[in-house]
Symmetry: D2
Subunit: 162 residues, 4 copies
Amino acid sequence: MKVKVFVTGGTFDKEYNELTGALIFKDSHLSEMLKLGRSKIDVDIRTLMMIDSLDMQEGDRKIILDHCKKDPSDKILITHGTDTIVETAKFIAADLQDKTVVLTGAMVPYAFGSSDGLFNLGSALAFAQTLPSGVYVAMNGKYYPADNVRKNKQTGFFEEIK
Amino acid sequence: MKVKVFVTGGTFDKEYNELTGALIFKDSHLSEMLKLGRSKIDVDIRTLMMIDSLDMQEGDRKIILDHCKKDPSDKILITHGTDTIVETAKFIAADLQDKTVVLTGAMVPYAFGSSDGLFNLGSALAFAQTLPSGVYVAMNGKYYPADNVRKNKQTGFFEEIK
Amino acid sequence: MKVKVFVTGGTFDKEYNELTGALIFKDSHLSEMLKLGRSKIDVDIRTLMMIDSLDMQEGDRKIILDHCKKDPSDKILITHGTDTIVETAKFIAADLQDKTVVLTGAMVPYAFGSSDGLFNLGSALAFAQTLPSGVYVAMNGKYYPADNVRKNKQTGFFEEIK
Amino acid sequence: MKVKVFVTGGTFDKEYNELTGALIFKDSHLSEMLKLGRSKIDVDIRTLMMIDSLDMQEGDRKIILDHCKKDPSDKILITHGTDTIVETAKFIAADLQDKTVVLTGAMVPYAFGSSDGLFNLGSALAFAQTLPSGVYVAMNGKYYPADNVRKNKQTGFFEEIK
């Protein structure tokens, strides 16, 4: 059972630039995280973009959707910034029903030590292997169908709408 | 959906005693790990024992099985040392069919920074929420039915038998 | 031998705000760092301000200088942002000759795991205990008199001018 | 000013063997630690042995002493297990007076995240650069002449005898 992983950026992959003091994107930490997790899942990782999800445009979402559609795998994990992860999940769900697509992110960059990223990655990969076809957001140890989730911006936690 | 968590010890919870230089058990790190993972899963954690799984006797396995049976929850996670995690999984599977029981562990103590524990915990909790009734070992990002898994002691990875 | 520690902020104490994604100041990490280092140095810590050193004004430097002058201790450590640490060192050196004042900082926030902060703190406290009266910048494991140091903004390392 | 560094093992360099669950020695972490500390000190590192200091024999101490004597540098740092660090310091002090020799160690392995090692390394290197000729133990942020220090085995902290 192969899981396709699409990297789009987000807090997950932000790093600290010690010369400028800014938070930046360089390479994805996914491979390093999978190695730390001693993962033996058959994954194929492709970076589609490296952006803050607040900067994500409809064109970017079309790129993600196209890759989800064309990829031979029917188990897909997408790493994504949490600010607009729900919008992208809905965008994909509107046009893709026959694959299991799980979007996940992190509230704290993986590179900063005290990150929720490794926990989220573990749970999202497990959900990608076990959930029926559909588009889901996996955060806080739980999974939410794309049409029943929002990020609570006051608490930073995800919750059901209905 | 409540998940019951039984802690039994194992590498997961080992710590370094700086006065003696030995690896010891003190308290479980489960709550701290769930907090780091920003988990919102409804869990109820109970420590049954704090032992190295090489020291686990049949009496200990009966205690674990009894708690699995009696607990009202039908989603159960057990943290366990990896050396005999398969034996305990089989022991439970022989006598309990109507609940989802997921056993997980770690190859490196959580307290040592570069641990697979947080990844394993995330995936095991996801599997506990989604897999059908049965007893499973969750390691290396994957899940294995109790009757089709062994730990490869040369590589430290888990693998299917059949 | 008591060492007075004045905290002024800087990268040392920056944290990641998981709700906004910004780098912010909350409390100083000095006490936590000294505990991790198992320090038995007799220190007295006082936070004077919590600012980015690019925002430091002459008024702020006067506050720091005044505290250095009035404090009964003649061994003083100041934690400071690296961007203007040299300016503050020179400002103090112009008006205070009879105490050992060591300024140090960090290129990566302590909270981000892979920080140089703990190394710098260890060396700066050692220099404060052993160097003769004068004002010094302690970075990169070395000490530099206030009038013979600059930060190389291309490399992020400190170097002698002369 | 070049500092010679002799590595002898000790808790500093212990690692967790994930297959056996034992604490072992592989390579020294000194270079990695100096890189993390962004050190620009001119050092020359040589590993003399990789042993637990409880296993250190008089023959081992002679090897260390010989290297200290023969090395052209008069600034020497020795990393050493804390259990017998004082014995080795005295052994060197009895036969070498004209160099600054600083011994340091760690109570928690560097590889375990919450280690005092980076703090100790920073302070020991600073003491090696600034203290007059003599043999010293640098622990807990302080320095102790070889003839006036003991490890308190109850607390794990070093203290003066006199």
